[in-house]
Amino acid sequence: MELKLADYKSDLAPDWCPGCGDYGILSALQMALYKLKIEPSRAVLVSGIGCSAKTVHYAATYGIHTLHGRPLPVAQGVKLANPELSVIAMAGDGDGMGIGAGHFIGAGRRNPDLLYLIFNNAVYGMTKGQASPTLELGAQPKSLARPNIQNKVNPLMLAFAAGFTFIARGYAYDVKKLAHLMELGLRHRGLAMIDVLQPCPTYNNLHTREWFAPRIYDVAAEGYDPLVPREMSDEERAERMGRFTTKAGEWGERIPTGVFWQAQLPSFEERLGEYLPGYPADAPASRPPGGEAERVSALMRGHRVAQ
């Protein structure tokens, strides 16, 4: 049966605020899955807690709406147990860069084959607009009692420091481009992050459609090449890193989107396969039952008093 875009939509009506950027992210994700013809039942969406986290309920895939800050570990568990699945983790900026920041670093070190979306609205939507870790120092959206006194963290820079092998930024109101980025991220073998700029019209009256529109541009249009070859001279690496850092740090009058960094390194599943017989083909979730008694007997042999 031919898959249709509608096959990726669940029966549930979203309860986001009118104009919320989350609508665009949901559409883009459905388009990307559709474009890649990923069977809905072979895709697993894993979110945390927040407005953003409701996304999984609106897609007709498997959806896991976990705990605040924990989508990445749960997503990795799903993926490692069944590496055949397409697993997409998603987090609010509070979810992913605040309470979940430690897992961000941990996952970056592993490079599992996941797509990870950050819903970056610079506020804690679900809890009524407190500053999120991506809100600039000194900014005061209407929901704050005083200007923000914490500096913001840049998801792109953090992903780079953590070792993500695909680092991109998209914009929730540019659904088509965002869908394309997601497609690239899903195709990437390894850990792919997309920092999605997501307006929250209810609480963030600073980063609105009007504010973003004139600023957003595509790095690809400027000839920026994100592909990092496997082998590089020290100079080449230095040059690349410098270029990345500069682009990733750009914010203000112009805000770059697109793919910033893409490197080919063995995924965690591949690395595990070197030590685990049969993995990833023979994975914990797909292994046929049986053989337990033999496995224990093999272990017990090492404990025999006399061989």
Binding site: E39, I64, G77, P284, E292, Q307
Partner: protein
């Protein structure tokens, strides 16, 4: 000899663990049932540590405070173990140590220093004073300078000075066994097996052992002889037993963050890919538990091990597993708390925490292992319960069992089968993962990723397909469906699986849980007492009838009497006596017996604290 305990003490990292293994294996090869326990500081190198190896003709369950032979690898051991060698027992010590003043023992902490100095007559006494005490207590002193002996024997065997020094553990064991007149061949066998991967080292140690045997005269009496053959017995600790139990029940995934004493289990599995377990070291316990939950949702059998601090970080996710009906097993290796507490000492201080962990009401099971062998069987049972009833199961064990090693007959693996759980026969389209049409509260299940179907899982209250709901009626129905599992689980288990009773007809019943069982049973030999080992703490067995009209004594390893409180909560009965220990040391047969005798003679207070141990 029927029942012999050998103790080796010395600085952490100085080889005493290997020594104990060699001693135990040499005896095990001679057909003895052996068991070993390990006491150590939270330190990598230098602080005091010791191990006891008990050898008997029949399997045992516990340890004595006082030993038959103490092999002291340093002066600190001599002063710390005063009064712990039986009259008529043997002390092997370096004669040079005698000249040291107490203040020169760099790793003796100030509390111990003060107490021992006073015990030895005050001032800054010499170690010699301690030796005299031993002698006064009827201990046979065997001055034997083990380090020089290692150097000499090692060099005689062709090693350089540094390598020779490393044979100290073999020397200590060889000297002990030579004193006891035990056959050298059995030690040689143990050495070969232990150093199988390094033939050169094995050879050196064999030669050193022979050299020591040549130099050390057997004692005049109190010899040990081989008593038979080990057959297929295994020599295994509680951590490895627990790991194997999980493998037997189909374990496929274990994520972990290192913590004493829980890490030995994943570390063992990681080092043995033949276990078929995917083991992942992660960034913290929050990642560990959530990764395991993810793996379980995808259909892998997943488990975790941790101890108190790590478990604390897992509590939010425990409720998540409970609400989302995700099978999950946590072996909680209890150690001395609260907080970091006494991280390498034993305790049963986490019961109340385990019973209440996580906000809100959700079904979970909590069971506790009594012994090393139980660690195997209970780990398997926990896995199967989790699978069948789709809930988190907390398997309580402790540092004492984790680091206890015993000879056992091989586990009967054929008797264990991974429970298939309640699987949906077919699934197409949107699947009611949380169907209210659920016998015993268990909705048929398909894993996430099953082709052709789909559903949602959320940590919010939800409807049958997993979407969020705040509907009051649906909420109640879901709460009631989940709660129904507790009765179903209890019925499935049956009363017999929930507790064990010995001599339940006695007028006075001792009740214990977890690792108190072993010592209680050994201590009550010949006394007119009954003993109930409560294996399931949640759901709790129906004990009302059994305990009705009896005088009750609770024995446990924590200050507040966590199990005693639970007993009252579940049965309305307050125990007449509560015997507790919380200094981090295992209960010994002597002190528990003394407490039982006090109960029987009517001299025991309501609350009794056991304070033994080094």
């Amino acid at each position: 000899m029927e029942d012999y305990t050998w103790r080796v003490g010395g600085p952490q990292g100085g080889g005493i663990e290997t020594a104990a293994t060699l001693f135990a294996q040499a005896l095990a090869r001679g057909g003895w049932w052996v068991s070993a326990r390990r006491e150590y500081h939270s330190n990598i190198m230098g602080r005091h540590s010791y191990l006891d190896v008990r050898a008997t003709r029949r399997p045992t369950r516990a340890f004595f405070e006082r030993v038959d032979l103490l092999a002291a690898l340093d002066a600190e051991t001599l002063v710390r173990h005063l009064g712990e060698v039986k009259p008529g027992g043997v002390l092997v010590h370096d004669p040079e140590a005698a000249r040291l003043p107490l203040s020169k023992l760099a790793m003796l902490d100030s509390a111990a220093y003060r107490r021992i100095a006073v015990a030895l007559g005050g001032g800054d006494p010499l170690v010699q004073e301690a030796l005299e005490r031993y002698r006064d207590e009827g201990v046979h002193l065997v001055p034997l300078a083990l380090e020089p002996l290692a150097r000499e024997a090692g060099e005689a065997a062709g090693a350089d000075a540094i390598t020779a020094r490393k044979t100290l553990n073999t020397v200590a064991v060889a000297a002990s066994l030579a004193l006891l007149g035990y056959p050298l061949e059995l030690l040689e066998g143990a050495l070969e097996a232990h150093f199988a991967a390094k033939p050169g080292v094995a050879e050196l140690n064999r030669r050193v052992a022979a050299e020591v045997y040549a130099r050390v005269e057997p004692l005049k009496e109190g010899h040990l002889e081989p008593v038979g053959s080990p057959g297929k017995r295994i020599y295994i600790n509680g951590s490895h037993a627990s790991a194997m139990g999980k493998v037997a029940a189909g374990l496929g995934f274990m994520s972990y963050y290192p913590i004493t004493p829980a890490t030995d289990e994943p570390f063992y599995l990681e080092a043995h890919p033949e276990s078929g377990v995917l083991v992942v070291q992660v960034e913290d316990e929050l990642a560990a538990v959530n990764m395991a939950i993810g793996a379980s949702m995808a259909g892998a059998r997943a488990a975790l091990t941790t101890s108190g601090p790590g478990f604390a970080l897992m509590t939010e996710s425990l409720g998540f597993a409970g609400l989302t009906e995700t099978p999950l097993v946590i072996s909680l290796y209890q150690r001395g708390g609260p907080s970091t507490g006494l991280p390498t000492r034993t305790e049963q201080g986490d019961l109340r925490f385990a019973l209440g962990a996580g906000h809100g009401d959700y079904p979970r099971a909590v069971l506790a292992s009594e012994s090393v062998a139980d660690n195997f069987h209970d780990a398997a049972l926990a896995m199967n319960l989790a699978q069948r009833f789709q809930l988190p199961v907390i398997h309580l064990t402790d540092k004492y069992l984790a680091s206890q090693t015993r000879t056992l007959e091989p586990f009967d693996v054929a008797a264990i089968e991974p429970d298939p759980g309640v699987q949906a026969r077919e699934a197409a389209g949107v699947f009611p993962r949380f169907s209210l049409n659920a016998e015993g509260g268990v909705s048929p299940r398909i894993p996430v990723g099953t082709p052709g179907a789909g559903y949602w899982i959320t940590s919010d209250e939800h409807d049958e397909i997993g979407h969020i709901t705040e509907d009051p009626e649906l909420r109640d129905a879901m709460m009631e469906k989940r709660a129904a599992k507790m009765d179903a689980l209890k019925e499935w288990l049956g009363a017999d699986a929930m507790y064990r009773a010995w001599n339940p007809g006695a007028d006075i019943l001792v009740l214990g849980w977890g690792s108190t069982g072993g010592v209680a049973l050994e201590a009550m030999t010949g006394l007119d007492l009954g003993y109930i080992q409560v294996r399931f703490l949640l759901p709790f067995p129906d004990l009302e009838e059994l305990i009705s009209g009896k005088k009750l004594v609770v024995l446990e390893y924590n200050q507040s009497g966590q199990f005693a409180h639970l007993l009252t909560q579940e049965t309305g009965r307050k125990p007449e006596h509560l015997i507790v220990k919380y200094n981090g040391r295992p209960m010994t047969i002597e002190e528990v017996r003394a407490a039982f005798e006090a109960v029987l003679s009517g001299t025991a207070p309501q609350y009794m604290v056991l304070r033994g141990g080094v």
